[in-house]
């Protein structure tokens, strides 16, 4: 068969055959070993990278844990502080109240005692006045000198007043 451009099917097949041989040689002797080596190295580096990443993640996690723990401790401390503050304030107010109440009761008692004292003094004074009056009267009656006795009464009364 006369094909234009002198195309020869047999030679085409020979070219294909040649290329197939070349492909096999290149694939098994050059391409595959180099590719395998590259893939192995890549996998190794990837593993190293992943390990590093994992380690980093773990460290991050631990750090976060500790940070949260520290933050919790701080909160706890501040809570305790505020609690103590409120307790203190309560105690103080309670003490102030108590002191006020005590002071009030003391004042009350003092007032009562004062009143009682006052009453007692008044009663005593009255009793003394009565005594003075009685003595004066007795003296007057016994002396029978009215003017004198009147003067004496006044004197004794004055004396008593001064004494008081």
């Amino acid at each position: 068969m006369n094909v234009p451009l002198n195309i020869d099917w047999q030679q085409i097949l020979l070219h294909v055959f040649n290329f197939t041989i070349l492909f096999c040689i290149l694939y098994f002797f050059l391409y595959k070993p180099v590719k395998d080596f590259m893939e192995k190295r890549e996998a190794e580096y990837k593993k190293q990278h992943d390990d590093a990443e994992q380690a980093l993640e773990d460290a991050q996690k631990t750090k976060e844990e500790y940070e949260s723990k520290i933050a919790g401790a701080e909160d706890e401390i501040s809570a305790m502080k505020s609690e103590a503050g409120t307790k203190n304030a309560e105690e103080r107010t309670r003490m102030i109240e108590q002191a006020k109440a005590e002071a009030a009761s003391i004042v009350e008692a003092a007032k009562k005692r004062g009143e009682m004292e006052h009453d007692k003094i008044v009663a005593e004074a009255q009793r003394e006045i009565a005594d003075i009056v009685t003595t004066a009267t007795e003296k007057i009656v016994l002396s029978a000198d009215v003017s004198k006795s009147y003067d004496e009464f006044l004197k004794s009364a004055e004396g008593n007043m001064k004494n008081e």
Binding site: Q11, H15, I25, F29, L30, Y31
Partner: protein, 293 residues
């Protein structure tokens, strides 16, 4: 470098150049060529007369011999690497290890970038194809000579500047893409590849055209003796290097893009059914008020 050594080296180089020029001029006319320029060009395209005997079995184009030679060289290199270099690979790569790893990594990256699913075999294929195209194209620079059946000597061209090699490469890539589509997507993948029916043609002839044009330009330049001085550095080395890189990149990129396209899993489209439902609902809504009236 001291002044004296510099002067000495300049003198030596000038003497060499003068001797060479004198030789070229004194040798006179070049030997009459076996074929004219048009014949050479025609033969570079069609390979009518310049056939090489393949172990006496068949007369083949020189491109096929180049292809076998490239396979031999690359295979030998791979085997030497496998025995002496790869077992001594280190965690921190040396220069040669880095070179190998870069090439493998380049094609793997290309495959992964363009075809997200099942790209293992794709990257192996484009690695082999890329290396083959690159080394094959650079191979023509060495100019190994073979003897044709007519007794003339011809320098081995790039394997893919032979149309048979280019067609083989294009069709193989197409079949590889199709197989990938079928393996990943079944019948859909097959249809997706059939849809791109012009792909094997375009891939084959792109390779053929690019490499042949390089060979033709080189041939043209070398045909005239006076052009064979500084120009081959540009035309021969630079152009060959450039289109070796470009063609290797283009074919591997195309293969990985199309492979990715046909092996991509097609998602079910729930939108249509939803729209229909909405339509039904709206119809119901429009109908019910009237009915209730």
């Amino acid at each position: 470098m001291s002044k004296k050594t510099r002067i000495t080296s300049i003198v030596i180089f000038s003497v060499i150049l003068i001797v060479l020029l004198a030789g070229i001029i004194l040798l006179g006319k070049p030997r009459p060529r076996a074929e004219s320029l048009s014949e050479t060009m025609r033969d570079a395209v069609l390979h009518d007369s310049m056939k090489v005997s393949l172990f006496g079995i068949k007369d083949v184009n020189p491109g096929l011999i180049s292809a076998f030679a490239v396979t031999g060289v690359v295979g030998l290199f791979a085997i030497i690497c496998r025995i002496f270099v790869i077992p001594r690979f280190k965690e921190i790569p040396g220069k040669f290890q880095l070179f190998l790893e870069t090439i493998v990594g380049l094609f793997r990256g290309l495959a992964k970038g363009n075809s997200p699913v099942k790209n293992g075999i794709l990257s192996a294929y484009i690695f082999a194809a890329g290396v083959y195209i690159f080394v094959g194209t650079m191979f023509e620079l060495f100019g190994f000579q073979v003897v044709t059946t007519s007794g003339a000597s011809v320098s081995l061209p790039a394997p893919l500047s032979d149309i048979n090699g280019a067609i083989a490469m294009g069709c193989m890539s197409y079949i590889f893409i199709m197989l990938g589509g079928i393996a990943n997507n079944g019948f859909h993948g097959f249809l997706g590849t059939i849809k791109e029916f012009s792909l094997p043609l375009s891939m084959s002839f792109r390779l053929f055209g690019a490499l042949l044009s390089g060979a033709l330009v080189t041939e043209l330049v070398y045909y005239a003796t006076f052009l064979s001085f500084v120009l081959p550095v540009l035309v021969g080395v630079l152009f060959t290097l450039l289109h070796a890189l470009i063609q290797a990149y283009v074919l591997t990129l195309l293969v990985s893009i199309f492979y990715g396209e046909v092996s991509e899993k097609k998602l079910e489209k729930p939108k249509k059914t939803k729209k229909k439902k909405d339509k039904n609902n709206s119809i119901n809504n429009t109908i019910t008020p009237e009915v209730s009236k």
